[in-house]
């Protein structure tokens, strides 16, 4: 008898189990955020045009020697517009060089956008067909990479850089990389 009663409770137990499992799924983070597979790996080689001016092209060597942010953006990307002021603020406040990768965009539209909103970037790389994007594991814009002085990717932010993401996740990485660089140079 008690056994039959226990069996009656089984469906409920299974249901509760499934609910708990699915609930745990919420804690795993956003399903649309892919794990950053390139962390600790060198920034890929590239040789791509700029948005005009001198020099006419940029390569990986231009990234080396300093801790930098590399921001993948486009004029077709509304979130990029939202993070634009934040990037300008970060550049002004910390003096960090932000390199812009204009991703699958129209260069004329990009120049007009920068003329209108201001240009927070140290220099520009034009990835018109998205090949550098594929090499970087980019699957949307904006994405922002922290690249150390040796050209190694140390952090990747998928989606907008906001005051919160900067303060909580990106700035600590930048600060520790800069401190490590200063210590290395003093030696």
């Amino acid at each position: 008898m008690t056994r039959a009663r226990a069996l009656l409770a089984l469906p409920l137990a299974v249901f509760v189990g499934i609910v708990l499992l699915l609930h745990a799924g919420f804690g795993l983070g956003r399903a649309d955020l892919l794990p950053s597979a390139l962390l600790g790996k060198p920034f890929p080689d590239f040789d791509l045009p700029t948005l005009g001016g001198e020099p006419a092209s940029r390569s990986r060597a231009d990234l080396l020697g300093k801790v930098r942010l590399v921001n993948v953006w486009a004029t077709w990307c509304p979130t990029c517009a939202a993070e634009h002021d934040e990037l300008a603020g970060i550049a002004a406040e910390t003096g960090i060089g932000i390199v812009g990768i204009n991703y699958k965009d129209d260069p004329n539209a990009a120049r007009a956008w920068l003329a209108q909103r201001g240009d927070p970037y140290r220099f520009h790389i034009v990835d018109a067909n998205g090949d550098l994007g594929v090499d970087l594991g980019v699957y949307g814009a904006p994405e922002t990479f922290v690249v150390d002085a040796d050209g190694v990717i140390r952090f990747k932010q998928v989606g907008a850089v906001t005051a919160e993401t900067w303060r909580d996740s990106i700035a600590p990485v930048v600060v520790s990389l800069r401190e490590a660089l200063i210590q290395e140079r003093q030696r």
Binding site: S36, A37, L38, N129, G130, G137, Y139, G140
Partner: protein, 153 residues
């Protein structure tokens, strides 16, 4: 009669539309080597579009899927092996991009769950079967069923 014809035509059109949308997106890629093209078709069917969450890059017309197809084609033409191409993309996009993820600590549940469910189902079936054999009708139940017209209950 005409209504029936019209209905069949409409049904056929719906079916055609469904089949058309289910077929893969085709790029204007023509390979000189049919073997290379076959490998290309297999690879893009095995790779998952990172932006669209549940479509392979063969079936997605998202810009990123088209970029990835171009990358696969370029690497094939450079003479890289299938494994090298998958490894190259996995290095950038992680296991997420593989529709056939390797067995690891993170995916063991994914691989083991179907087997566990089948085993569980078989156990339940066996249990139900054995219980059905064990339960016999009482004389009272038998006479009630006979009264209702059931032969040899």
């Amino acid at each position: 009669m005409t209504a029936r014809v019209a209905r069949s035509v409409a049904a056929a059109l719906c079916l055609a539309a469904t089949l058309a949308s289910a077929s893969s997106v085709v790029d204007a890629f023509d390979f000189d080597d049919p073997a290379l093209e076959a490998r290309y078709r297999t690879l893009i069917a095995e790779l998952r579009c990172p932006k669209c969450l549940n479509v392979n890059i063969a079936g997605s017309d998202a810009p990123i899927a088209s970029d990835l197809r171009r990358a696969v084609r370029r690497m094939l033409e450079e003479g890289r092996s299938d494994d090298e191409i998958l490894a190259h993309l996995k290095e950038r996009y992680g296991n997420f991009i593989l529709y056939d993820p390797p067995l690891s600590a993170a995916t063991v549940l994914l691989w083991a769950t179907p087997v566990l469910l089948i085993v569980l189902g078989l156990l339940v079936l066996r249990r139900i079967g054995s219980r059905r054999d064990a339960v016999a009708l009482t004389d009272e139940e038998r006479s009630k069923l006979e009264a209702l017209g059931v032969e040899n209950p």
